[in-house]
């Protein structure tokens, strides 16, 4: 309602002016409040947008991880017959490379046996290298590489089938070999492997009574476990299968010629330890292996073990190996029957 009162005098004027001022002030306050509220709403939304962005980013990163994991599974090693090329690479590592690697930074976990322990000999009367493992086991998968390299310095593998560790275990599908159906011959050692289970954890080989005696005596509670002629024990893996993740047998074998590669350092460093232990058992035979660097220095670093002068054959040939005609050991026995005992 418009006011019709006639403006008369300064009082009315000043009241009107005051009213106008109050109105203007109210308007500017409310517009300030409005813009502050808008700013507040926008600034409240921004953090949540950022949170959403961060969560989306993390989801993408995890997606990349899952993709990489899948890629690794498809790039894993092969299973099947001996790959001659791989066998050749792994069994003919240059002495200079082995010397350069040394221990490869591997921690020495070899244990000496108690003083007076009789030498463990194999079916041919030679110092026995007893390996107890399983095909599913990823740590065995890693260890076998070092075992093959070391044993190749004392003899020859003519059969070495390939496999991978279990796909549902830690370090899945680690490329490796299996000693089941393998064939090895040596003039210095008897290699006696037992693969207790296949990669699906089904029973594969059952230890003989003598082998079980070794397992019980030294408390082989896990895989892999190695008894080197009752002189040294290796209870567990020397290196982590992690270094072999995503690599095929060919990839791994081809890296053994590069002493700077992590694969070579782990496998060859471990092999050097085993070689030194085997040299102790064989009285440093063959000399070409046992006097070559870094074996003498590693031998010095091994735990002291008292050598027994007599050797007693503790382990007979496992029944499964006798039946398996591909075992070179059995053939060796037939041909070595007339040879001088070790």
């Amino acid at each position: 309602m418009a006011k019709t009162k006639q403006q008369n005098g300064p009082t009315t004027k000043s009241r009107e002016q005051q009213r106008n001022l109050e109105q203007k002030s109210k308007q500017s306050t409310s517009s300030r409040t409005r813009s502050r509220n808008i700013r507040r709403r926008t600034s409240r939304q921004r953090p949540w947008l950022l949170i959403g962005g961060v969560l989306l980013g993390l989801a993408l990163i995890v997606g990349v991880f899952l993709f990489l994991a899948n890629q690794q599974s498809s790039n894993s090693g092969t299973q099947g017959q001996t790959d001659v090329a791989v066998l050749n690479m792994v069994s003919t590592v240059k002495p200079s490379v082995l010397a350069q690697v040394g221990t490869g930074g591997i921690q020495n976990i070899l244990q000496g046996t108690p003083a007076g322990t009789r030498l463990l000999t194999g079916p041919n009367g030679r110092p026995q290298f007893f390996y107890y493992g399983a095909e599913f086991c990823p740590y065995c998968a890693a260890q076998r590489w070092a075992v093959v390299v070391a044993l190749s310095r004392f003899g020859t593998f003519t059969q070495l089938p390939e496999t991978t560790s279990a796909s549902d275990d830690i370090f899945p599908n680690t490329a490796t070999f299996t000693f089941y159906h393998s064939a090895y011959s040596s003039s210095y050692l008897d290699f006696v492997p037992v693969e207790a289970q296949d990669r699906n954890r089904h029973t594969l080989q059952i230890p003989t009574a003598d082998q079980q005696q070794i397992i019980n005596q030294y408390n082989f509670t896990g895989f892999p476990s190695i008894d080197i002629a009752n002189r040294y024990l290796i209870l567990g893996p020397l290196f982590s299968p992690d270094v072999l993740t995503g690599l095929s047998q060919k990839d791994i074998a081809s890296q053994l010629s590069d002493p700077t590669s992590r694969v070579a350092q782990n496998i060859l460093g471990s092999a050097n330890y085993m070689t030194a232990a085997m040299c102790v058992a064989t009285h440093n035979q063959p000399a070409s292996v046992c006097t070559a660097a870094p074996i003498p220095s590693i031998e010095q670093s091994l735990p002291h073990t008292a050598l027994s002068s007599g050797g007693v054959q503790v382990a007979a040939i496992p029944e499964s190996l006798v039946i398996d005609t591909r075992w070179q050991v059995r053939n060796e026995m037939a041909s070595m029957r007339n040879e001088q005992a070790w």
Partner: protein
């Protein structure tokens, strides 16, 4: 965000940190075999496998990786407590908490990479701790995002000024 909400977020950070402390202590005890591990032992979730892997210790040592996690949680709890009391409303504290959480997030990302890509196995307890760290990181992001000016405006709103003059 008003002062009450800031304090609520700090309280949430404190609670999460204390939960983290509990889990870290449990994992450390499991490492030293002082307590049994209560967790799934087959399939994708297998705490024992992860905790027995080489990644469960600080590289180059035999100390469990849960120990630095424990230290992190204790520091976080201390910062949250400080944010609730003597340093309530201090923006530099929120920034420090955010940076602290970000450092832990980087480690979490590495550990998740190890679980998924290297080990193909998840540790449930470890994942719980990772989730706690993630939640703390997100909360500190929220705290840091609030401009300092808004706090003043909120204070103004809570104490409205007299604008009308009595005639």
């Amino acid at each position: 965000m008003n002062k009450k909400r800031f304090l609520s977020w700090q309280a949430a950070l404190l609670v999460l940190s204390l939960m983290g402390v509990g889990i870290a202590i449990y994992l450390t005890s499991v490492h030293y075999e002082a307590v049994p591990l209560v967790c799934s032992a087959r399939g994708l979730i297998d705490c024992a496998r992860v905790l027995a892997s080489p990644y469960s210790v600080i590289p180059g040592t035999t100390l469990p990786i849960s120990l630095p996690g424990l230290v992190w949680c204790v520091v976080s709890a201390g910062a949250a407590l400080t944010g609730l009391t003597v340093l309530a409303g201090r923006r530099w504290l929120y920034i420090a908490q955010c940076a602290w959480s970000l450092s832990a997030m980087l480690v979490v990302l590495y550990l998740v990479y190890v679980e998924i890509v290297r080990l193909h196995t998840i540790c449930a307890w470890c994942s719980a701790l990772h989730a706690i760290i993630l939640a703390q990181f997100l909360i500190t992001l929220l705290l840091v995002q609030q401009p300092a000016g808004e706090q003043e405006a909120d204070v103004e709103r809570e104490q409205p000024a007299v604008t009308a003059r009595k005639q």
